[in-house]
Amino acid sequence: MKVLKLKKHNLNDYLDSLRVWGEVYGPVKQGEKYIYGQLDDLSKLDTKMLRTILPVKKFLMPPKFNTFTFDENKYKAELENIPNRIVFGVHPCEIHGLLILDKFFLERFPDPFYGERRRKTAILGLSCVPDDKCFAKSTNTHYVESGFDLAFNDLDNYYLVWVGSSLGDDLVRIRLDLFEEDIKEKDLKHYMEWRNWRDSQYKLNVNLTAMPDIMELNYSSPVWDELGDKCLSCGACSMVCPTCPCYNMSDQIRPSQFTGKRERTWDSCMFKQFALVAGGHNFREARSQRVRLWYTHKLKAFITEFGKAACIGCGRCIDTCPVDINVKTVVKALKGGK
């Protein structure tokens, strides 16, 4: 993997140059929170952002979009007008989140709508310093080795820039004049010192060791009923979770003729209707069962299937749930703590 240097004062100039390839997005402040917004004006870019309300998945599987249009004889997939996008400021944990979504959508049953957007979205990672809700060190998602096109590591007055893909290389070549290629020993030292310092900044530790076993032992635990009583079933946790992939489909037909579109929207297993099937039967009638499913999926089933948790320690559930149900509190409760 190639590593380059970019002086910080050149960042905006560089991002501005990338517009020849696509639309540029990055973290911008909205009220007291952050979102990934379009950077028409680069002064809006806020590199100190910790977590956006919605993760970067919103670009790859938007909350609501049309998959295809149809009439009585044919259908036409809507894959043509997807723009090239560059998303700058994606933190390491979120890139791990993308790798998890890739498992859902690119492997056994490739999803063209996700795949096409993933291909056309350049991921420009950015290192971060954790706050008291980040626990990416616990989930081992605080560094990235793949899943990005460029990764920027913030070191005082410059960035060390990892080139992670051939697209990343192309993007560097757009403004090669801004980058320095001679990485010196002191840069490596600087980087290693930064790493040690950053590792020491993780205040929250959520130990997920042996979680599948702990979940199994807790299958009939009253903890789930307590959580079910408390859960508002608002689904916000699923919306903001970078690894939640579920969606719903609905056919929007015109009243007077047989033409229409198939719309895809984010869904959540926290909703009662999620497991509703023909005949009015429901696999998960009780709210407690639904809360259990969400956590079983993240912290047990995914580990059994892929060898790691479907949690990247980004802290969005901690930041979002109005009644304090999140990976931190649930893991604690399952281990017998209050």
């Binding site: 919605l54 508002l232 079933s233 608002c234 916000a236 007077s256 959540s268």
Partner: protein, 259 residues
Amino acid sequence: MNKPKVGFYNLSGCSGCLLTILNCENQLLDVFNGAEVVSFLMAQSNNVEKELDIAFIDGSVTTDEQEEFLHELRPRTKKVVCLGSCSCYGGVQAMENEKGTWLKRFNKVYGKKPFKVVKPFESKPVDAFIPVDYYLPGCPIDADQFLYNYARLLRGLPADVPKTPVCLECKWHENECLLLKDKLCLGPVTSAGCKAKCPSHNLPCIGCFGPADESNLTSEFSLLKEKGYTFPEIERKLRLFGGVKFIKQFKSLWKKAQK
């Protein structure tokens, strides 16, 4: 193929739901071409009252005349669809329901007056009188949700009105959570479909789409209580649009909470 015969009717309410349909200017031809609209007082002349495939009812029931109309309508229509929170839940005009007698409340506002034209009573949803097949809530209804379901119903498909909470659509818009900002927001207990209009303008949800599927009122109550809201404050908000459905739900909670 014969087009399905439909009728649009208005009981007590502002008719805003029917107006929402007429405001769909780009789809209006679709709405009228897709069916044989036999009765739509707000939109056309020469209405006839006959056998129907679908009757859409806007407004709540507040007079004996309306009650009689519903009993006359039901046997001649295959499906009855409630449009808007008045016909679904009783509407804003049901916010004081079950608080003492209706007549006492009426007299307090209007004085003691004889009823000459019709005999009025406490605002009730349509399903208090006749069986209802589908409910499209909202104050007013959402145009897209109506058009989607209208097309389905014309083809004999069941309505599809997911009663997921407002929070779902609110998060799609990347709004800051108003509950976390200690606002009295009814988002988690209110049905979506509105595209989270109010929270997207930084205004807390006031519940105009009525209860969500399995609203966890108990948890919403204790959360709001923790934030310093009193039960009368919360009840007032819930009563505003939630009508009889919410009142039924929180009555028992109320008793428990006051203990």
